[in-house]
Symmetry: C2
Subunit: 318 residues, 2 copies
Amino acid sequence: MPDLKSLETFFWVATLGSFRGAALKLNTTQPAVSQRIALLEREFGFKLLHREKRVATPTPRGRAALGYAEKLLGLRSEMLARVAEPSSLTGVVRLGVAETIVHTWLTPFIRRVDRTYPNLALEIEVDISPNLRDRLLAQEIDLAFLIGPPSAPSVHSRPLCNYPVTFIASPRIKWPRTPVPIEDLARHPIITFARNTQPYVAVRSLFNRPDLPSVRLHASASLATVIHMALDGLGIAVIPPAIVGRELDQRKLCIIETTVPPWDIAFVASWLAAPDTRAAESLAQIAIAIAGEDGAGRLERIANRQSRRRSQFKAGSR
Amino acid sequence: MPDLKSLETFFWVATLGSFRGAALKLNTTQPAVSQRIALLEREFGFKLLHREKRVATPTPRGRAALGYAEKLLGLRSEMLARVAEPSSLTGVVRLGVAETIVHTWLTPFIRRVDRTYPNLALEIEVDISPNLRDRLLAQEIDLAFLIGPPSAPSVHSRPLCNYPVTFIASPRIKWPRTPVPIEDLARHPIITFARNTQPYVAVRSLFNRPDLPSVRLHASASLATVIHMALDGLGIAVIPPAIVGRELDQRKLCIIETTVPPWDIAFVASWLAAPDTRAAESLAQIAIAIAGEDGAGRLERIANRQSRRRSQFKAGSR
DNA sequence: AGAGGTTACGGGCAGCGTAAGGATC
DNA sequence: GATCCTTACGCTGCCCGTAACCTCT
């Protein structure tokens, strides 16, 4: 009798057109996928998939079976969503996060996930948003917290938080009290996110003006490196203040008031449409809550800092 | 993630109200059932069944889950019926047969099942029809070939064959050429099916008349014994001639012409309504075909025998 | 006391991962 | 030759069955 695990495997092979892809999606090896499909074909008594071509395609009868498989998976998923205890969420969710999140609210997020879903394991990967997008589309991660809605078909997204991007530098670099014009900023090396990222492109185009001297732009895929460089006075970091809250507190870094119009980078939680998105949606829900609380807390704290009032420091962060 | 095996187990426990019953139905042990239910309850995060009472009853949330389980099982069953190769029928079917069937067309039936469904194993039990009926209702067998439709809710039945019941005795007992009246028959011991069977009751009421001497009625649960007794001249067997075709051929037994109006016993294939009756229905289909062919062949042969024409002996039996 | 469910434990086997072997572009 | 699927093989871990225990009527 065909079991749901095999049918699920069949569904993903048919959907992704690839045994290998299904194996990645299902967190297993490719031979395991082969074996499950072979089992299913033995149980049904006929070939479900054409393997000759580059992409695996269901046979005509395979297509009929596929319809039933989808219904079955959908029904199981609906059953779990409707009647199962939320805390019964189990297994492994592969989560991709942009590094900004690591430096802001990832830890409280994980803590709450651990409390809410004690049987759920997270596999966390940190990468830049474009790579996360690719890995999401390749089914290699189940959920991503990244910049901007990755506009692709069948990607579901929910907004998490907006972070203003500011110019931040070591206090060793002295500035006038008045807002600094972009020309003065451009005299220093600019340190920001990795190439190919949205903030990098924004910064590049900001300084890519005929009337400005060509700027030295340091891009790093590691935010920790960016922060380090800024701490060492190597240049001006163009990053959200939220990720260097402690350094701002300790006055090791300062926000530079400028004439440049501020802009935000928007983070979203994204996951692919699939028969069972219960885990992804539940985690996104938590992320939305945490990011909201944290964002509020952070903003408050930053406001406090800038007005030099240190009292009630941690209010709102619980 | 709940799998269909556990859900099927849950379905049967809920339906039969008993872990033990489900274990019998599913051809496994009771601890295995316990374990599957426990697994399911861990996966769902709540108790599915009340065990306090004599009969296991679904909890309210268990009832919701049960609805989904039924849908899932029905869907899988439909999928298999619609798209699976018939020869892919696999597993074990527990078949109960009345002994008359053993002596008539069970062997050709098994042969054809072996050919048609090479991956299907039969577990055959021979018993009298009332016991088969009980075992069917207790879910201990999946399919039964027995006498008369066992009128019970949710039992599906299809007619297989009708066998006339005749008086058969050793040629040692001499009879006049004319049809024998019941009074003369009653002087000999009567040998027939076991107590509680329909033929036994019929024979008993036939001879239970005030004007007849009380008859000696030998009942045997073993048809082979009945035949043996008749061959040894111990009395008159009241059985369908179909089961002693060879002995009639070899003139070791003869049909006694009587004034008693002949009557038939009707055999049917019966199985219980369930989420997956594919195997039972497929086997019933074969049984209907075989019983029809065999019945035709037998009747022809018997006619031939009685008219002493031995030619074309095996015609129609293929 | 007996029927029915749970718990404990040992063994068998299904299914996994590693690694090598084809096939197809 | 690279990519993808299949086959081979050893191993782990799950699940089953046996048996003892527990709990109700």
